[in-house]
């Protein structure tokens, strides 16, 4: 297979280890005087957006940053729990840039680009340095040095963390840096603003149309370049661990204007989430993967066993991950842990009232930590209860906020009864296709962080999303954007009265008017729920040809109904969350169709994409490297019409193997 001529990944020549070092030393620069005249628009203020905004402003560019939330600090990166990976090898346990690179490629089931992933591993250490310097209070050992924990899919301890609130601490660090630039006047911050289209002039992205969500006013903003740092699209499933406002709208508008969408069907179902409790449920809550460090996952050995967990003796429990994958045990990658949970529940071994859950049990950890504490404190003849209490205190320090959250949501005390967990949609590896510079197929338009497709292949390893967001924003885009902007120093700021801005604004206004005038009978929320059900049932944890074909038809019908029967309350010229929601749901519906088409095209199982027709006898994913070792990049060609372009993946430094964690 040959890569489509429309996809030039611009990967630098030379050996893998020196590609980035050489490239960043030779990429064109923009001199400081010219930077002052170059305007960069950044959409989204999560880890990728906030770090890019502050860094580009420090370099001297004129930056405008936009977020739909009321403050940059509320971007959904804030909710990341477990940690951030870096190849520091502080634990002296054999970690290295190469090993992080290797783990990430293997974890992604050999569907990510070597050069991008290697660069990510290379800059990972700089991220930790930067964050510590900026005052991020990572967890530390008694000697005052940084602490590490393990995460799935690896056998070293390379994850840095701040209790179960690592994303919060990293985002607040990046946000502080951003607000510092806002205070200095080098970043203009637009909160409660949503990007509703990009503006194209002479084949280049030259700005955006944004809606002021407080007044409803449509605004035009010029930029020499536009960076989409808008996160993932997991909310296409309605129920996910994403925030309520997380949406695909900015990326989707860019897609409709020419940015190819990469691997849309690669979604990550996270194995450890709090199970659904009823139809009222508005979102799902993650229980950090770090809990699999110390917790053991099990179900009863007997089908439909209704006994409470503490009445099921040890030898009647099936620790199925430890049984199936002895080398990695409870720390297998997410896709594998999720499918294993689904397999047990589908076979009738699930627990809880819904029977769609498995246990995550901390009893062994209480005993283990408790014994450690007894030794540390020199307590002799400690009773078993005393050991358990001491162990619980240790667990509380490590994971206290997560246990509290579980208790709030379920009403059960996880220090007393094992947690019940079930997989839920969490992250999207797919996203806008980008080259090595992080530029999309639209010149001048970039995608960073979860919004792009580039680093995680078909499955992301835990604690790697934070790493990628900050790598892209702090250490990649500040260099790579020079390759484009060095040729833009003669481009004067374009007036927003340019016909292209007028036209783009009119398109946005017409769509808003249309949404408000349908005056049908069903709320945007109701359509979102229906879409989510189709996606979860037919394009979720397991997919097959027939289901995907049905889903495409059902989504097309849903789209038709939406545009003739949606009921959007309120007006255009006011604060109107219903209108915001309707706009987003309309885009999710179109994306859902593309995801199903992509899943249908990929006649193999890899990572998070599990096609039931393609599995081994043991039920493991069966890749087809001959036929599908490519990135799917979809070009929008009109209503329900796309053309597929392929970027061939070449592995020159890693030997392709059947992925095994046994």
């Amino acid at each position: 297979m040959a890569t489509s001529p429309k996809l030039d990944a611009k990967i630098p020549d030379g050996p893998l280890e020196s590609k980035w070092t050489k490239y960043r030393s030779t990429v064109p620069l923009v001199n400081p005087a010219n930077k002052r005249n170059i305007e960069v628009i950044i959409i989204g203020t999560g880890l990728a957006g906030a770090s890019a905004a502050s860094t580009l402003a420090e370099l001297g560019y004129k930056v405008k940053a936009f977020c739909f939330q009321d403050s940059a600090r509320r971007a959904h990166s804030i909710a990341a729990q477990g940690g951030i990976n870096a190849a520091k090898n502080y634990q002296n346990d054999g970690d290295s840039v190469y090993r992080l690179f290797y783990d990430t490629i293997k974890g992604g089931d050999y569907r990510a680009r070597e050069a991008n992933v290697y660069r990510l591993a290379e800059v990972s250490g700089n991220i930790i340095d930067q964050c510590v310097a900026a005052g991020v209070p990572f967890a530390r050992e008694y000697g005052g040095l940084l602490s590490n924990r393990s995460f799935g899919g690896t056998q070293v301890q390379r994850t840095f963390y701040a209790a179960g609130q690592t994303g919060q601490q990293l985002l607040l660090g990046a946000y502080s840096g951003l607000q510092r630039q806002v205070g200095a006047g080098t970043v203009e911050m637009y909160t409660r603003h949503e990007m509703l289209d990009i503006v194209m002039i002479d084949g280049k992205c030259r700005g955006i149309i944004a809606r002021n969500l407080v007044t409803g006013e449509l605004e035009r903003h010029f930029g020499h370049a536009v960076l989409l740092c808008t996160g993932g699209y997991g909310n296409v499933f309605y129920l996910s661990t994403n925030a309520m406002g997380s949406n695909v709208t900015a990326a989707w508008k860019a897609h409709r204007k020419g940015a190819f969408f990469g691997n849309p069907c690669f979604t990550q179902i996270h194995p450890t989430c709090i199970p659904v409790s009823g139809d009222h449920q508005s979102k799902l809550t993650l229980m950090s993967e770090s809990l699999r460090n110390d917790g053991r996952i099990w179900v009863p050995k007997k089908q439909n066993d209704n006994r409470p967990a503490d009445q099921i003796p040890e030898d009647e429990r099936d620790y199925y991950l430890e049984r199936r994958y002895p080398a990695f045990g409870n720390l297998v990658p997410r896709d594998i842990a999720s499918r294993a949970a689904k397999e047990r529940c589908d076979a009738g071994y699930g627990v809880g009232t819904s029977k769609m859950a498995v246990y995550l049990d901390y009893y062994a950890a209480y005993e283990r930590y408790g014994k450690g504490e007894v030794n540390k404190r020199g307590i002799h003849n400690a009773s078993h209860d005393q050991i358990l209490e001491l162990g619980k205190a240790v667990v509380k320090e490590k994971y206290g906020n997560l246990f509290d959250m579980y208790k709030q949501i379920t009403g059960e005390d996880p220090y007393v009864v094992p947690m019940r967990i079930y997989p839920a949609v969490h992250y999207t590896m797919g996203g806008l296709w980008v080259d090595y510079n992080l530029m999309t197929t639209v010149p001048g338009l970039y995608a960073l962080g979860e919004a792009n497709f580039s680093d995680h292949g078909a499955n992301r390893l835990g604690a790697s999303a934070l790493m990628q967001g900050l790598a892209d924003g702090y250490f990649v885009i500040p260099y790579t954007i020079g390759a484009y902007l060095a040729n833009e120093i003669r481009t004067k700021s374009i007036s927003v009265d340019h016909p292209a801005f007028v036209e783009a604004e009119k398109e946005v206004r017409d769509r808003i008017t249309k949404l408000l005038t349908i005056k049908g009978t069903k709320s945007p929320e109701a359509y979102h729920k229906e879409l989510g059900k189709i996606m979860w049932d037919k394009c979720g944890m397991a997919r097959n040809e027939q289901g995907l074909k049905e889903a495409i038809q059902e989504i097309r019908a849903l789209k038709k109904e939406f545009w003739s029967n949606v009921k959007v309350m309120g007006d255009a010229d006011e604060f109107n969350p219903e209108l915001d929601k309707a706009n987003r749901v309309a885009d999710f519906i179109e994306l859902g169709e593309l995801m199903c088409m992509d899943a249908l095209d990929r006649n193999e199982s890899c990572g998070g994409h599990f096609r039931e027709e393609y599995q081994t006898e043991e039920g493991e994913a069966k890749r087809d490297d001959e036929g599908y070792m490519y990135v799917s990049a979809w070009e929008y060609q009109g209503d329900s019409a796309w053309e597929l372009h392929k970027e061939e993946l070449n592995y020159e430094n890693i030997k392709i193997a059947q992925r095994s964690y046994k």
């Binding site: 700089n126 510590v132 005052g135 005052g144 009823g278 508005s282 702090y474 604060f575």
Partner: protein, 253 residues
Amino acid sequence: MEGNMNLTLQVWRQKNSRTEGRMESYKLSGISEDMSFLEMFDVLNEQLIVEGKEPVAFDHDCREGICGACSMYINGRPHGPLQGVTTCQLHMRSFKDGDTIVVEPWRAQAFPVIKDLVTDRSSFDRIISAGGFISVNTGNAQDANSIPVPKEDADASFMAAACIGCGACVAACKNASAMLFTSAKISQLALLPQGQAENATRAIKMIAQMDEEGFGACTNTGACAAECPKGISMENIARMNREYFAAEIGTKE
């Protein structure tokens, strides 16, 4: 219907910042005790849409207690009756069948109402912009482990850094003071060796901005810490005052 709770809601409705607001009463039935408080509001809004009425606007996003967006003043308390819990993490099992629940927006001069229960908290961002950071440009950093931080200091810094910027402290305070919020950031950075260089200017600038935004002074009532969903301690206010006085006495200008 999923549950069997019947409730009366008294909710603050206000079209925008230029118009006057008023309380409106709504009846809800079939509420399940497993619903979160915001999911109960989702049910209310769906019901209002069916009736052709404007749904209630409220801020919310992550719904797992960390983004700090949700901000309801429930039965006279920010984030409702439980301690250490945001509105989104409050569940209906904390209420009982037949209850009347009063829901208002945060009330503070520095948090003007945008619509219904939504307020403008951008004053918090401006306080951070005034000095809530360490001035380190990307690329300046040395190796992370070259700065050892005693575990107790790192832990105390983290406890202060856990603030989610929701504004419950301001809403709870009779003076609408933002001292707990401001002091949490000042403490986080003052407790770390990396933050030392800017301690004096940070305290002076952030406090000046806090005053300029129209937040009140602190009279040590302690309502802020009692209502803080993240358990931010009043010790931070004491530390901020120490930093401030030291800075005022010690500045060279």
